[in-house]
Amino acid sequence: MNAAQSSGVFGLGPTGLVVLAVIVLAAAGFVLARARAMASAGGDARRLHSLPNYYGYNAAMMIAVPALGVLVIWLLAQPALVQNAVLDLIPQRAIAEGSSINLVMSDVRRLAEGLDVAVAAGALSADEAADIVATGTDIRAVLGNVGVALGSDVDPEILAAAQEYRSLSRLWSWVMVAVVLSLALAGMAIALRSARAGFRARNAVERGVLWLLILAASLAILTTVGIVLSMLFETVNFFSLHPWQDFFLGTTWAPNFRGNSELSILPLLWGTLYIAFIALVVAVPIGLFAAIYLSEYAGPRLRSVAKPLLEILAGIPTIVYGLFALLTVGPALVTLFGRGEEGLLGLTWMTGATSVLTAGLVMGIMLIPFVSSLSDDIINAVPQSLRDGSFGLGATHSETIRQVVLPAALPGIVGAVLLAASRAIGETMIVVLGAGAIAKISANPLEAMTTITTRIVSQLTGDTDFASPETLVAFALGLTLFVLTLGLNVLALYIVRTYREQYE
């Protein structure tokens, strides 16, 4: 909305300008504070408490941080405040017609922004936009010309509200500019006054850095909490529309957008776990053996080639593996096990190229480099002195690996396997392309099944109505998946921490 209020220079709105100004002030503060500190020490940097640049950093920090912080908070709070002020202008009559206050407000915002765009595009002058009257001009046509489509003709009340919205926004934006700039100037004054030889600028900057790091860490944690909370919120909505008994204990997954769906997680959970299980059966032995070979037997030349190669393999996007499942592994399994007519084994067991086995095998292949790379690091971390001790007692290389190296590495390897499991459970693209879309509980790995992740995708794509249980179930599924993988990760960490041998 701020870029749209293009009353500024260089096409920048008040926000852009004020950011630019703060940056310029911070740069000036840096130079001035540094110079002042040097001058107070008589030009001899050794008489300063800190290196000269620290005085500059301190000033830049004092100028920019409070000003920009207030700016961010202001930008987040202003729309809500302005909206509240405008609310009174909208008569009850405009709302009553089968809509809600929120929809009307979004019309107001749209219109206000449309007018701003029109001014920016030169279709209206700023004065015209401010004086425009609903009956006199065809606003819809004018705005349509600059690419802002309005749903219906414009009500005079709505137009009045939109005008009020514009002028309030403009007013508060300029107040914001004033506040932010004065904060920056105040910071500059304080920083410059304290830029004297005895001032512990280094410690002040250190504290600033500390707060920056704390801010980053808490942002990371807060976003996670936010994601979980939003999922939790939608999940609660879902359970108010759909019985939890059916979700957790039912046996059928049959979403029906006309209502009356059966939405049970069990068939999906079964498919997820079955595919993940097959993937681990493939990936864990192969990955582990590869890691043992690479870390214990392979020469340094082979290692230097094979290790990066494996890591590249781990970086291939999973959609590529999905294509591999769809185009290669699925048809190969069909040729082997037969569909309709007999396959190479003289059987007709498959019903299609998509099956639990297809997805499981390909997911296993995807996980091999993951498992082997992690295990390789873990095996390498086992101290050489343990191997020497075992060799010194007359053990062979493989006895040493089996009886000393692997037991010592076991907690780490179990952790790696659990991490691989949580990746397998969360994997989406391979199962979309390889496993099929039929939700059922069956022990036959040659049948198509489906997983939690693919159902989340299919429930949320296409025409969705965010008030129906068929859509909201996606959040319940997502939350379950989150809890499942979180549990696995916590367990992995717990095992690694508890059973890790403390070397040194």
Partner: protein
């Protein structure tokens, strides 16, 4: 070859356990051991002393062929144990290492129980005829390493949970459990406090009853306390070898003298 062996037999028929002849060791291009010949006696503690990097560990590791595990290491010359060339093609280094035990500088118990640590060698080599036999072997080894009384109540506790000195004695017990004939020790006390060092030294003196012990040490006092024979290495050469008392009181080579008096080190 054969003549030499005969002549040795004539001189010291039972006493020579290990005979090294013109041993050269290379790490890539680095010539680490230069033409070393030495006779090590049975039921004797032999100390290797010398400044850091002079090749003591390298030579020690030749005696049980631990150098085979280092890719770039090459050994030339002959080392005979009881008259048999251990670098002969017929000799399996793995079998050899059961006969020539080794204790390392840093205690390195396996992340297993105390019992399993000691039982490791006997199990690998099939030395026991059953559970109770294995129990006996473990107890005997732990007693011989003078640690039985401290651990007999917690044999199933992890070996890594012991103190440094206890860990080192556990490693010695682990080495003697396979009934070796020679025990090689590479600075076994350098990671230990004085009390633990005294315990290990006492133990070494007892082990002499049954084994030929070769110990690398940095401490001249330790060499003087525990050994009967001393070999002084310098820059890959064996400079002087003889009775410990003789070497410490009356060294023949000026390099030995300056090392012992602390002028090179």
């Amino acid at each position: 070859m054969n003549d030499m062996r005969l002549s040795e037999r004539a001189v010291d028929a039972q006493n020579i356990k290990i005979a090294a002849r013109n041993v050269q060791v290379y790490y890539g291009d680095n010539h680490a051991i230069k033409d070393v010949s030495v006779d090590i006696e049975d039921k004797t503690v032999t100390a290797f002393i010398g400044p850091s990097g002079c090749g003591k560990s390298t030579f020690l590791r030749c005696i049980n062929r631990m150098n085979d595990t280092i890719d770039i290491c090459r050994v030339e010359g002959d080392i005979l144990i009881d008259g048999e060339d251990i670098y002969d093609r017929e000799v399996d280094p793995v079998q050899l290492r059961a006969k020539v035990g080794m204790v390392f500088q840093k205690p390195n118990p396996f992340p297993k129980s105390i019992y399993d640590n000691v039982a490791y060698g006997p199990r690998i080599h099939g030395l026991s005829r059953g559970k109770s036999d294995l129990d006996d072997i473990v107890e005997r080894a732990l007693r011989r390493a003078a640690i039985w009384d401290e651990v007999k109540d917690r044999l199933s506790a992890p070996g890594t949970g012991l103190s440094g000195g206890q860990q080192q004695r556990l490693c010695i017990a682990r080495a003697v459990a396979t009934e070796p004939e020679v025990l090689l020790m590479d600075e076994p006390c350098s990671a230990l406090d004085p009390i633990a060092t005294a315990q290990v030294e006492e133990l070494i003196d007892e082990l002499r009853q049954n084994y030929s012990v070769v110990i690398v040490t940095h401490s001249m006092q330790q060499a003087a306390r525990v050994s009967q024979k001393t070999a002084f290495f310098h820059l890959g050469h064996l400079v002087e070898y003889g009775e410990t008392g003789h070497i410490f009181t009356n060294p023949e080579d000026p390099r030995t003298e300056s090392y012992i008096t602390g002028r090179i080190g």
